[in-house]
């Protein structure tokens, strides 16, 4: 298992530092006890809609893919980025398929516990030049590009 970090279209192998993990429900129950934790692990049945606590102090939020077929963490990642404005690392853990990495990036995930190497992941995110939807990444959706182009013409 390699830890990859994503930035601006590239994946970089990274060394998993000795982070101290705590599960969301444990931390919520007793934050003082877990004051030294650096990574928050959110299981994919947690409802983030009622998450009112401040998670900005964590370096990493870990989202789980118990099976590559289970897509709940895609929504959780977007909520973390777009609604809770979490700006640290969001790491995908579990059954991460090469063919899902581009979707993960577009939902705001930028850390991957992934079996394949960085080259394979970089290739995978380059498969599509554009997207129809706005994502958490910086790419403009196709409709916005069309509009810009029409205005420039």
């Amino acid at each position: 298992m390699t830890l990859l970090k994503y930035s601006s279209g590239q994946f970089f192998p990274s060394i998993a530092e000795g982070q101290v993990e705590v599960a969301l429900h444990e931390w919520r129950e007793n934050p003082q006890v877990h004051a030294d934790a650096t990574a928050l692990v959110i299981s994919n049945d947690e409802n983030l809609a009622d998450l009112v606590c401040d998670i900005s102090g964590f370096d990493t939020v870990v989202l789980e893919y118990p099976s590559f077929l289970d897509g709940r963490a895609f929504s959780q990642a977007r909520i973390l980025r777009e609604r809770l404005h979490y700006s640290g690392e969001i790491r995908a853990r579990g059954d991460v398929l090469r063919d899902q990495i581009a979707f993960m990036v577009r939902c705001g995930i930028n850390g991957f516990e992934f079996a394949d190497g960085a080259a394979s992941a970089t290739e995978a995110v380059a498969e599509f030049t554009n997207a129809y939807q706005a994502g958490v990444d910086e790419a403009a959706p196709i409709w916005r590009q069309r509009h810009r182009r029409a205005r420039a013409a």
């Binding site: 077929l69 709940r72 581009a102 993960m104 599509f128 509009h147």
Partner: protein, 551 residues
């Protein structure tokens, strides 16, 4: 019709390249079949009983002549010279070889066709009223919105790994020809009292082993918010839909477990929090898409056609086809012409390559280059001048495409059943063929009036039996094929689920039973009452007795 710009074309080309790579990784063993399966399904590729099956998308059932010729070409070059039009307005090929699939996709892409999201646990190819842009009862053309949904849902980063498949249907007409109340989301464009256009949003309908009629969670959604509202629904579903049990994973189970009101509250709360400006298309983009669906250049005609009237008077066969297969157009002097893919004793929805080519020629010559596919597995020439109807009919007769039975007893929906499908318990096609042959007499069919018979070869209900006026469900009992009859269903604006009547019957007996039920209706009917209305008036017990008495 919508035409690709370079963004759309690039998207499809890159998708094809990606899938070519995925197939290569599967063949090299890098991908296991378990990993490959969802990837191939999202590209329309199934592994069936005898072979791979490829389902090609026909977004909202709209085709140009060029595209139809391309479908004919694929049938000829890669398959056995035919294709099967489906209840989701798509086309399926039953015999492609895996090694050919990337080439098929490249061929299809030349005419803006693809198989993206025709299967898999994602947002499927969107369907719409087959009479869109032509129907006399239309409030607004649903196709621009269907195209917006197509783009929004294509490779959606958040919603490509849903608990289960997700089907959206759109109509802009008063009469529901798209079965919107039995979809995961049904959308009905309408005008409110202030004269504004918006959508009625219906959620949680569906068939399968647990059928439900959908719930309206919003009477009026201003049309500019369509995509953000869909996003809110999908997000609630993606996060809260069940993933522990395949049979309870559809949104209908979630909606009905929570109750429609609580589900609506969740969606509305999500929608309020969502950043709409990042999702809803700006007015310029909506106008750009809408412009593709501008009405064709209709001629200024009298609604009465002298040429048509002469032909109607001289040919009773043509007059019958005109009565049964044509619908009212919104423009004077035009008609909507339905092409039945239900020849007596034939396979519902099948068309040969030669027939597809012939239909493409007719569309080019007589229907502004447009063809539609209906969810009832027929084709439509949406804009035919009444003056030209006879010429169209003559050509259709030549290609055995003029069966005068739209909406009648032999216009049967049937799933592929055990002849092709690996999920099926029983065959469906032979039952459809036998019923069709039993009611072959066109005078008889026409006198019976609208009668929707729908046949599914298993509980998954691909043949829509739950919403058949007469539904037939195939069940396996100790290795034998049995058929269960349901009555009183409807997929239209008066949507209802059929009720089971009587015991399971053998293949021979089920055809007799259908005949008995129809005979009972004939005796009990008042005036021009439809089968469905007689059934609703008299009730299930009355029909059950009729079935038992005669047995």
């Amino acid at each position: 019709m919508y035409r690709y710009d370079e963004f759309d074309a690039t998207m499809v080309a890159e998708r094809n390249a990606q899938f070519r790579g995925q197939i290569a990784r599967r063949l090299s063993g890098e991908l296991t079949e378990e990993q490959f399966k969802p990837l191939r399904l999202m590209n329309g590729l199934y592994l069936q009983l005898h072979a791979y099956m490829l389902r090609v998308a026909i977004p909202y059932g709209t085709l140009s002549s060029r595209q139809m010729r391309r479908l004919a070409y694929v049938a000829r070059k890669y398959d056995k010279g035919y294709g099967h039009f489906t209840t989701r307005q798509n086309i399926q090929y039953n015999w492609p070889a895996l090694v050919d699939v990337p080439d098929i996709f490249d061929d299809l892409a030349q005419d803006e066709l693809h198989a993206i999201q025709t299967s898999g646990n994602c947002i499927r190819n969107v369907t719409a009223d087959q009479y869109a842009g032509a129907a006399a009862d239309e409030v607004e053309d649903p196709r621009p919105y269907a195209e917006m949904i197509r783009q929004w849902s294509t490779l959606h980063p958040e919603f490509s790994w849903l608990p289960r498949k997700f089907k959206i249907a759109v109509t802009g007409a008063e009469n529901d020809r798209s079965a919107i109340r039995v979809h995961d989301i049904g959308l009905r464009l309408h005008k409110n009292d202030e004269g504004d256009f918006g959508f009625e949003v219906i959620v949680g309908g569906g068939m399968g082993r647990t059928p439900f009629i959908g719930h309206t969670i919003r009477e009026f959604l201003p049309r500019e918010y369509l995509l953000s509202y869909l996003e809110a629904i999908l997000r609630v579903y993606n996060l809260q839909g069940r993933r522990d049990n395949l049979y309870k994973a559809r949104i209908k189970i979630l909606v009905n477990a929570k109750g429609a009101e609580e589900f609506r509250d969740l969606v509305e709360a999500e929608w309020r929090a969502i950043k709409k400006s990042e999702i809803d298309l700006p007015v310029e983009e909506r106008a750009r898409i809408k412009a593709y669906f501008a009405p064709p250049e209709f001629e200024d005609l009298h609604d009465e056609s002298v040429a048509l009237n002469e032909r109607l008077a001289s040919s009773s066969e043509f007059a019958r086809w005109r009565r049964t297969n044509c619908a009212n157009h919104k423009i004077p002097g035009y008609a909507i012409a339905n092409i039945s893919l239900k020849p007596i004793g034939g396979i519902p929805g099948d068309a040969s390559d030669a027939q597809m080519d012939a239909i493409a020629d007719l569309a080019e010559k007589y229907s502004f280059d447009e063809i539609r596919v209906s969810h009832e597995q027929n084709l439509v020439l949406p804009h035919v001048k009444k003056d030209d109807l006879f010429a169209v009919w003559t050509a259709l007769v030549k290609h055995e495409l003029a069966t005068p039975n739209i909406g009648l007893a032999s216009d049967i929906i049937a799933c592929p059943g055990l002849d092709y499908c690996k999920l099926a318990n029983t065959r469906s096609i032979p039952i459809a063929q036998k019923i069709s042959e039993r009611f072959a007499d066109f005078d008889d069919q026409e006198s019976l009036g609208e009668l929707k018979i729908k046949i599914s070869g298993c509980i998954n209900a691909c043949g829509h039996h739950h919403v058949g006026h007469i539904g037939i469900l195939g069940v396996d009992k100790r290795g034998e094929e049995f058929y269960q009859i349901t009555l009183g269903g409807s997929g239209a604006e008066d949507a209802a689920l059929g009720e089971i009547v009587g015991r399971g019957l053998s293949a021979d007996n089920v055809v007799d039973a259908v005949a008995k039920l129809i005979e009972h209706y004939r005796q009990a009917r008042q005036d021009k009452e439809r089968f469905l209305d007689t059934y609703r008036r008299l009730g299930a017990d009355n029909f059950k007795e009729a079935l038992n008495d005669a047995a």
